[in-house]
Symmetry: C3
Subunit: 340 residues, 3 copies
């Protein structure tokens, strides 16, 4: 098993997906079921009956309890067995593991580590998500056959945009612009500015810039599984690099990663923008992101395969690797601390 | 390799499937071909030419011999090579392993163990199968991605019916009725009676009961691979529990299991009933069983997967496990004896 | 990893498949990209960027360089990195492995071993391929889930034709005719003559023989991956066995094998014949070969599977195995020499 950071809040599902039926999910190599109680709270349990290991996701929701689909053993929201049909005595070991959950930003978050350390105030938040001057649109839960840290590499790496996303998020103007980075506690910030250059295709399509723009990409990575890409543009010469970004187009592309197993991750993505958007515009924007993230997916999955094919190949490092490499050390340290 | 009981007769195919062509099958992790000789007897051989290991199932039936599809080496029904094209000398090691077979109850039975111990009088039989007062209908060869002993668990376990087969073979009335069991040499009997309760859906549909019934389920498991489920109902108060079952509806649901490999089994099932049935009724009954056995299949396959996912998880035991646990010990002992 | 002969020219693609785009191929368990330079020469490189291992086949061809699809690192035809966007310094280890290539007989050939030993004059050639009195038709690149040496066994074995290819290349007349063989440096010749027998189906269809023919099969195997099957027929009594083959029908069925990995090979096949053929005739002939080679594929793939199923089974040897066994020793010796 990979060493995952366990004492952290991971996104596991869209809130809208969880209701009054039992939903199975997989995260950090564990199988989990989710359902919404009658009072609306989300419950998470291990997806296995302690009797014969039948997935509880094949059982029935009875009020706020799950009845196993094989012999009717029934478990309440704390995981305690409250019924074994045909017998009075319930063994004290008849318990299913449960996990703390919380909802924010349209997502269900789960805590897979020591439950006594789970504080809901630590669940990630982005202020603009709740700001009426900004608008929000949910994207997809993108399934990627690659380790989530390979996706995290990508999200500490503004440079790839110039080559991978040329039809949407990048263009040739940025190819040779160096990337900066700064490590902060539990975070990695990478960024670059492209000054006085044509707008990227997405902004050319949805903004109304007259000519060249000053464009920024700030990648805020929050270890281990969150990345907020702050990117935007303003007409060149209006002072955006100096901080006057009022009259600009700005988007937070938010990536909430679920590490499924060593070779699989899910990217729940959404976008928050400093302008109101019709459903139509939101759909059009999301379609642009879909194109871009499908490009990332193709690359990450191809790398995942080649990492197996060339298992003992020593790779070379270049300048833009500085941030991803420090990010990986940070995550490794976090995973190690929990074990110490 | 799993430790299989080898000195036993296993069902391997429906008799009607075996004719004048070479049929491949897999059982206890061995590959076998079957064909019917000109005199009607069924021959079983290993499915590999001893020369290059080409499956003999890709060869040709020539009279009562098989000609290998690669170089024409030809083997008679005893497995002896009788021709090597292009050479006179036939090496004495040019022999294919053969297996004893026998037919009964519409099935071909095979003996995978020591052939000197194979006695055709030991092939399983159910008297009612041949009784003109009873009628028979063959079901399917249901392919299940689970170990056959997991299926055997299920067939030593009347309790699951109340939760798994609620639309066909069970109903809520039996949920809390305890199960009895009794070990006999090479057999495990489990049973329960449900007194004065509504008939199960299958009997409500095909019987003509006026009101509540007394219902029985007797599961006769014959180690290692046969289970005969005797179940039926009679109008409450007519004395069925005391033995007066003349005016009742009774079915023997017969399960003949082929252990294919550690994770695969085939359940050849058929039903024998104490009433005559038109083809239409038989088909309708079989369709009900199909629904029920598909439910078992789903559960057994999910458990098989979770047993891998939670490979070192210690499960809990409840009252209804007594019979399956003793059944597994019995089979283990039988498998061990052959090795001793 | 299997021990492959590396210091040899292997066929890797049809020449017509390689143009101004990047084509991925796999050979001797290595992943390779091919493309044609602006001057027409074929370049072969390892299919992995030395930075993050992204397959270069997902990159872009820029003139005679490949730009990696992730960060734009660019490699020239010698494999040297000539650009890293965003930085000046190019580390000397930023190099992709390249492989010598050559074209002949409509195929691209590649040298996977020590490049200093690659001599293009050693690339296989068949004089008749270039002879205007003969005509050529390319067949397919047949993908076979079997080790290439199992295919080589088949191509040192004229005897199988009588049993495997009865509708095309063989008939019962040859079943009992012994096979001869002769080992030559780096070659294995196997052959037999069938005198005064009906023509095989393919010659009955495309030749105009009046009655019986004298037929020959000469299998010229060139270790490790080439086999030229010289087969033909002439009217019986016209002196073909004594060497007078002028008035005959003769075909060279050429097999150029690519060892992909231990369980996969590709057979690039074509035919060269001593008569002119319309496109229609060539297509009809190729269709006959397709039938025959699909039969070989089925047999080789079944054997490959059974070699796993019966991994420790000792097989028996018969007379026709002499040539394949010596062939295998020859190839083993060649593979070992490179390591010594």
């Amino acid at each position: 098993m990979t060493d995952y950071v366990l004492n952290t809040w991971y996104p596991i599902a869209w809130s809208r997906e969880i209701g009054r039926k039992i939903e199975p999910r997989r995260i950090v190599e564990e199988n989990v079921v989710l359902f919404r109680k009658e009072d609306g709270a989300v419950v998470a349990m291990e997806d296995a009956c302690p009797h014969r290991l039948l997935p509880l996701s094949l059982g029935k929701l009875r009020g706020d309890t799950i009845e196993c689909g094989y012999h009717g053993m029934t478990f309440d929201c704390s995981g305690k067995c409250v019924r074994i049909p045909g017998q009075e005595m319930i063994p004290p070991s008849a318990v299913v593991k449960t996990y703390p959950t919380h909802e924010n930003m349209g997502l269900v978050w789960i805590w897979m580590g020591d439950p006594t350390l789970a504080r809901t105030e630590d669940v990630f938040d982005l202020a603009q998500y709740h700001d009426p001057d900004w608008s929000v649109a949910e994207g997809d839960a993108l399934y990627i056959k690659a380790n989530y840290l390979s996706l995290a590499d990508n999200l500490c790496d503004p440079a790839h945009v110039s080559f991978v996303h040329t039809s949407t998020l990048g263009n040739a103007a940025s190819e040779d612009i160096p990337v900066h980075h700064e490590e902060q506690p539990g975070k990695m910030l990478t960024w670059r500015w492209i000054i006085d250059a044509p707008p990227i295709p997405l902004f050319a399509k949805f903004g109304n810039f007259k000519g060249n723009v000053d464009r920024w990409h700030y990648y805020h990575y929050h270890a281990p599984s969150i990345a907020i890409i702050d990117f935007g543009s303003a007409d060149t010469g209006t002072g955006a690099p100096e901080g006057r970004r009022d009259n600009c187009m700005q988007i937070y592309a938010c990536h909430f990663m679920t590490p499924v197993d060593a070779e699989t991750s899910i990217d729940h993505w959404l976008h928050v923008k400093n302008f109101q958007a019709t459903d139509e515009i939101n759909k059009a924007l999301s379609d642009q992101f879909r194109v871009a993230f499908a490009e990332d997916k193709m690359i990450l999955e191809a790398i995942q395969m080649n990492e197996k094919t060339f298992a003992d190949r020593k790779t070379i490092k270049i300048a833009i690797d500085a941030a991803p490499r420090r990010m990986r050390k940070m995550v490794e340290k976090m995973a190690g601390e929990a074990l110490a």
